[in-house]
Symmetry: C2
């Protein structure tokens, strides 16, 4: 197939490099800043480039790697240019808002929302890796797409080497991502915003390092993701705050039994599920 990767930042360029490394497909790449596209060509991360007018009608699969709010406008503006019968997908970390809006449209191509679940604390082309998805899940949320099209996309993800593929609804995806990813970023940031954080050297070890890692964050991108997934994320913040208050109360009352019970339940989840 001819696969077009739009946006060659951390995720897009990692997708292109993974396609080149693990599959035989022909990879087109395009990036708003042309210097990045040239670098990707030189690196062999993509096979060819061109204008959007040239590339969109050629691609059997188009993978859009833009910020949340740019995806729907891009697809609607270019709706006539995508190849008929092709698959258009994206890598955005929230799905309900995008998929439920686009399923109302009648396209000559099939849109299938997807989320290749990986990331790094650093962003941009230079941070991209051909191994970024080695242990990652590929989640897709096809809503009303034909099963044959979903199968094609899942097969491509398997070829790319994703460890696991998941097909689910946009709503279930967003609820789970609010928990596994978004709230983890919110709490890492909330943690390092303590007035004591700047004084941690000499007093910190693995727990500080790991819990705070994802506070190294691209706020411009994540603020869009958080707002686009408002209700599930606020539910998770409420759950987290309520659990923190349980710890606070048990500590305040010196209730050792309650503390042991809270930690035993947490430990059990980590031991049994990971």
């Amino acid at each position: 197939m001819k696969i077009l990767v739009l946006g060659l930042g951390l995720i897009g360029a990692s997708i292109a490099k993974t396609l080149k490394k693990n599959t035989k497909h022909y990879v087109y790449g395009w990036n708003r800043t042309e210097a990045v596209t040239k670098k990707a060509l030189t690196d062999g991360a993509i096979d060819a480039t061109g204008s959007l007018d040239e590339l969109l009608p050629e691609a059997d699969v188009t993978i859009i790697n833009f910020y949340t709010d740019a995806i729907i406008p891009f697809i609607l503006e270019n709706r006539e240019k995508f190849k008929k019968g092709s698959i258009v997908t994206d890598s955005c970390g929230i799905k309900t808002k995008i998929c439920r809006e686009l399923e109302k449209e009648n396209f000559d191509f099939t849109y299938i929302g997807a989320h290749p679940m990986a990331g790094r604390e650093v962003s941009g082309y230079d941070a991209s890796l051909p191994t970024l998805f080695d242990n990652a899940s590929f989640i897709c949320t096809p809503t009303n797409a034909k099963k044959s099209k979903t199968d094609t996309l899942i097969l491509l993800a398997k070829e790319m080497g994703f460890k696991r593929t998941v097909v689910t609804t946009p709503e279930h995806h967003d609820e789970m991502i609010a928990f596994t990813s978004q709230i983890a970023h919110v709490l890492a940031c909330s943690y390092v915003l303590s007035p004591l954080a700047p004084h941690h050297p000499g007093f910190s070890a693995g727990s500080y390092r790991d819990v705070s890692r994802v506070a190294r964050i691209n706020g411009e991108m994540w603020s869009e993701l958080f707002i686009a997934n408002k209700e599930p994320l606020i539910n998770e913040i409420d759950d987290l705050v309520s659990n923190l208050i349980k710890f606070k109360q048990a500590i305040g009352e010196e209730n050792r039994e309650a503390l042991v019970d809270l930690m035993a339940r947490a430990n059990k989840i980590k031991e049994e599920i990971g």
Copy 2:
């Protein structure tokens, strides 16, 4: 010197193994469960063992690795047995409660509180490692101890290979540890207590893995540590909850600017300080 390591769990046995690997000192070991002492002898983690009546009068440095609440009673009960002029220290993760109580006493030995800052999600002798402290800080809180005694202990920590040694007050230690270690454990547990945690497989990546790691926890031990450091830890929980509420409000109001600002501040701390 003759160094006695009391308690051969994760921390005690790692101390013994580190002493054997990196120093020339003679290492006595003692553990309540005798089978563990025998294993340590067989492994060469210690040079010799014996009864407390035999060992305490022999040791130039005694390192106590018991749960928080057992340390003061043990030292007071055995006060006549420790070698005159020797150093008695411990590895407990909180210091104010222990050091401020023991500095009231007139001992023939010098007690110096210490905290070799390292840990693992697993506990017990079998989890101990001769490399556990390779990148760790050794913190000690000498209060009224003579400088020459503190210098001896710091020198020993350097010989053992600790990356960094810190001398501070018990109160400053406890405030910093509430932030760098205790609240990190509280929030990891609070996080995985979400009803969604058991369903994370397929939807999680590095952020879930790292933020939740220390929820694999020994609740019996940590509940004592939390209660013994009640005020600083409750302050940290309050700060964390207040920051989480700021995120919640900004998300609820779809206030992108406020979110970007919160994340920019968090990101700055991680970029500049780590």
